[in-house]
Amino acid sequence: MDKKKRKIDLFSHELVPKHILLSKEEAEKLLKELNIRPEQLPWIKKSDPAAVAIGAKPGDIVKIVRKSSTAGEVIVYRYVIDK
């Protein structure tokens, strides 16, 4: 069977939070806002299924919107790394 056909949408699963790839401008703006270097953010591997699904490359920043038991919904950012 064709491999592509069997692929499911990762983000349709309840427990997988939304991953959004930031554009270069957005990323720069964020880093400026937080006054940090990108490596100071938590990391995500480029091989992470979610990162693969949105086509993130090392050096990119991914915005993740997930549920939180304390705040309802939170936005976190991750820096995409190699390996």
């Binding site: 937080l34 006054n35 940090i36 490596e39 100071q40 938590p42 304390t70 705040a71 939170v74 950012y77």
Partner: protein
């Protein structure tokens, strides 16, 4: 002043073996003579105390680096061994390698193809993980050790026997033949680098032959300093003693070899050298008699310095000792403030605070200096402007010294009332385990603390000891006072409620005091209020004739802040089935406070207890601040203790005695239940029992029996409580939440109930029965651990036995739980220890990497929130309503 040097970051740690060349390269001198000092007390050149090995004497300069004591790190020397010896630490490894390699060509005893396969696996592993796999080499060694003929050179292999600690034999056809370290070293030398890698040894860092020592490093004198006793006799470190032995035997061995002595003598000396080197490394090797001091004490050599509780790691690296600290037994003092700690006068005379002399305190400090170290309050040291420290114990004329005091001097004065100190009880599991207290210097020999601070420390007075630390800098004291003082820690960050509050008798007393029928005469009121420290007018008495009487509620209200509005259900609330009648509750269990007046309800655990969120105490802290809360706890505490002391409150065995009729009723109920159980068993035996869905027949039976018995126990308990009135002290304690539960009461008065092991009725013991008193297969209540007796009348032997079984399980459970949760706690603390909320609100680690953008994702401090929520609507509504009511 010494310059602050930023700590360095450790990039990696690599473990390996020292090569003989490396040892020689590290060495500043070869050590030849076993002697240490010459007759005139100078270190002998090329001896164990050679000046080039570093300096241990003050004023002396190191011959190698020119530094003085403290700055000179010490330098290694070396001993050239006359014959190689095995390093005990690697004896096992050597054995494994010998078995896996050929006795002639030293290749691994596996065919080339197999080695190729192992190499492929090992390369893959190393690429993935950056190291060699112990698992792969273990597998290879296991496989190669079984081979009896070398696939490379065809040599027949002998079995190798290892005898602890360092002897190896080859079992030839002619009998066992001993392998000398020389032979072993030869074999290890011939192992190729590639083979070594497959054996799990990285040849760059550790060639196999380095496990057989030919050169021994001599540690610098700084790690084995000699000490001069008062008598002037020099006493050497254990390591030095051991090194002397090694050098002596080494010398004799060399002389004998050079003189061509008989093989036997050389072998003996060689063996002796091996012994000394073994015990130099580790003096607790099994099968080796430990080397002893002349006194008979076993020497503390290298391994003993590191290993175990008293070793370098656990004692010096994980555990540190500090000055300005004290430890003693604790005992209670309800007259202290929660912020205070009672410090024994003997301790106050030893612990000091450095106080800088100014023109405003000079007179006071002069007085302290004159009184000196032995009279309290006094002082122990003076530090002059030039930094010189004067010990007042040895000062001849303290009066003159006091006169010489001038601004800028520092006087290390005794601890006095009001000083801030840190107080701690282990295990320090949360931040309230170390709090700042104000000192109260008291007679006797124990630390004293207020009973309400027992919960955060988890302290009791059955012999508990606590530690006290005196902050020495102004910043530390300010920080302690602002952040760590007990009153600042009342609200727990764990669940946003007070962790400090009334316990036990405070709660019983509060209940008795605020009951409707508590009426106090003017005399009583005045005495209670004066003990509590109330300064103000008496309220109008509730009853004016025939004599003025005040209610407990009125007096209690005097300590509630004006403007406090709260209502809550007390602990004694019966959860009335028809819905709560609120203010009209017949049990007075609905607490209503309006504008600081206790209108209705009794005060008990729910209102002032520790661990009670949304209580009166909680509202006072949140709405009126920590000072108000401290004052409330202090005053109410003294008042309640005084009240309950005057009234009297006891519990004896009679407290849980119930009338004969009731006892008979209970026995009937229990008997009925037992009969019911027997019926169930019978129907099970006949196969008439209906199986519950998802359960086996046996499980169904067990469940039904348990249900019947539990119901019977509850019923028995209910009957007992009917006869234990609300005036009963045990009942008061249970109902108000002061101590114990209704279940405890039922067990004491009526029936202990089913004992269980692993959540089931007891079934272990003999084959198909619990005890030999029962028939095989007996499933009745009694035979399976049902205790029909109560604690007051006592248990029969069989019941007692089952009870002990259940009790034992509980003890084992807690022991296991504390050790596993302790381990988890340590791991969590290690992982989280330097996380911190920065000024920009982000949570970051030590290398300022972001962990969270906002603390807890919502930025709420649980200690300052209501149940983790930023606002509690209910409380705001109540506040607004009660305020509008008044206007």
């Amino acid at each position: 002043m010494s310059l602050y040097r930023p700590p360095k970051k450790i990039g990696a740690i690599k473990f390996g073996l020292l090569s003989p060349e490396m040892i020689r390269k590290m060495s500043v001198t070869r050590i030849i003579t076993p002697d240490t000092y010459s007759e005139d007390g100078l270190p002998i050149d090329s001896g164990l105390m050679d000046g080039r090995l570093g300096t241990i004497e003050p004023g002396q300069r190191c011959k190698t680096c020119g530094n003085r004591i403290g700055e000179c790190p010490g330098h290694f020397g070396h001993i050239e061994l006359a014959r190689p010896v095995i390093h005990v630490g690697f004896a096992k490894t050597i054995y494994k390698i010998l078995r896996a390699t050929c006795r002639k060509c030293s290749r691994i005893l596996l065919p080339e193809e197999e080695l190729e396969e192992f190499k492929r696996k090992m390369d893959e592993y190393e690429k993935r993980w950056g190291g060699l796999s112990e698992e792969i080499s273990e597998e290879l060694i296991k496989k190669a050790s079984r081979v009896s003929k070398c696939p490379h050179c065809g040599e027949v292999q002998f079995k190798i026997k290892f005898e602890k600690p360092t002897t190896y034999y080859e079992e030839t056809k002619e009998g066992p033949r001993r392998l000398t370290p020389i032979e072993i070293r030869d074999r290890l030398e011939r192992i190729t680098d590639e083979d070594a890698r497959l054996l799990g040894i990285s040849p760059k860092d550790a060639r196999p032959e380095w496990m057989v020592l030919t050169v021994l490093p001599v540690p610098p004198v700084t790690v084995r300093p000699s000490i001069t006793l008062e008598s002037g006799v020099r006493s050497e470190d254990d390591l030095t003693h051991k090194l002397v032995d090694i050098i002596r035997i080494n010398q004799r061995l060399r002389e004998n070899i050079e003189a061509g002595a008989p093989q036997l003598i050389i072998e003996d000396l060689w063996e002796l050298l091996q012994y000394h080197v073994i015990t130099y490394f580790d003096n607790e090797v099994s099968g080796v008699p430990p080397a002893r001091h002349r006194s008979g004490r076993a020497l503390r050599t290298l391994s003993q310095r590191l290993k175990g509780k008293e070793g370098r790691f656990r004692s010096n690296l994980s555990g540190k000792r500090v000055d300005f600290s004290a430890r003693t037994v604790i005992s209670p003092d309800p007259n202290l403030s929660i912020n205070e700690v009672g410090v024994p006068i003997d301790i106050a005379k030893i612990l000091t605070i450095p106080e800088r002399v100014t023109e405003w305190n000079i007179e006071e400090l002069k007085e302290l200096v004159i009184r000196g170290p032995d009279q309290y309050p006094g002082a122990n040291y003076i530090i002059r402007l030039d930094g010189r420290r004067i010990d007042l114990r040895y000062a001849r004329d303290r009066r003159a010294l006091a006169e010489s005091l001038e601004p800028g001097f520092i006087v290390e004065r005794h601890l006095k009332d009001g000083d801030i100190v840190l107080f701690n009880r282990q295990p320090s599991l949360h931040r309230m385990s170390i709090m700042a207290h104000e000192v109260r210097v008291l007679p006797y020999r124990t630390f004293r603390l207020h009973l309400c601070v027992c919960p955060p420390y988890n302290a009791d007075f059955d012999g508990d000891e606590m530690n006290l630390h005196v902050p020495q800098s102004e910043e530390a004291r300010a920080e302690a006072r602002v952040l760590m003082r007990v009153q600042e820690q009342v609200l727990s960050p764990r669940y946003g409620g007070p962790i400090i509050g009334a316990i036990q008798d405070y709660i019983s007393s509060a209940y008795l005091f605020t009951r409707k029928d508590t009426l106090l005469t003017k005399e009583e009121v005045c005495q209670l209020l004066s003990v509590a420290g109330y300064k103000g007018d008496l309220p109008e008495p509730a009853i004016k004739e025939p004599q003025p009487l005040w209610t407990g509620k009125q007096i209690f209200s005097l300590f509630l802040p004006k403007g406090l509005n709260i209502s809550l259900r007390a602990s004694v609330c019966r959860k009335c089935p028809g819905g709560c009648l609120k203010e009209k509750c017949p049990y007075d269990a609905y607490v209503v406070v309006r504008d600081g007046q206790l209108i209705a309800g009794v005060i008990d655990e729910k209102s002032i207890g520790a661990f009670q969120p949304d209580s009166i105490l909680h509202r006072i802290i949140k709405d009126f601040g920590t000072d108000a809360a401290r004052e409330f706890i202090d005053k109410i505490g003294r008042l309640l203790i005084e009240f309950i002391s005057r009234r009297g409150f006891t519990m004896g065995i009679n407290e849980v005695e119930i009338p004969r009729v009731a006892m008979i009723r209970i026995q009937e109920i229990l008997k009925e239940a037992e009969e019911k159980v027997d019926k169930l068993i019978e129907s099970y035996r006949r196969g008439e029992l209906q199986r519950l869905p998802g359960r086996t027949l046996e499980e169904t039976l067990e469940m039904q029996i348990m249900k019947v018995l539990a119901e019977a126990r509850d019923k028995a308990g209910d009957i007992a409580s009917e006869h234990l009135g609300l005036e009963n002290h045990a009942v008061i304690m249970a109902e108000t939440g002061a101590r114990g539960s209704t279940l405890n009461l039922a067990q004491m008065a009526a029936c202990v109930g089913q004992q269980s092991v692993r959540g089931e009725r007891i079934k272990r013991g003999y084959r198909n029965r619990t005890l030999p008193h029962f028939k095989v297969g007996d499933l009745s209540a009694k035979a399976r651990g049902f205790v029909a007796s109560n604690y007051r009348t006592g248990l029969d032997p069989i019941e007692f036995f089952f009870h002990a079984m259940g009790g034992r399980e509980g003890l084992v459970d807690t022991a296991v739980r504390t050790s596993t949760s302790g381990y988890m706690q340590r791991r969590l603390i290690n992982a989280l220890q330097d996380l911190k909320v920065e000024y920009d609100g982000t949570v970051r680690d030590a290398s300022s990497r972001i962990i969270q953008l906002v603390y807890g994702e919502d930025g709420v401090d649980p200690a300052k929130s209501d149940h983790g929520k930023a606002v509690n609507i209910d409380i705001i509504i109540e506040k607004v309503l009660s305020e509008s009511e008044r206007t």
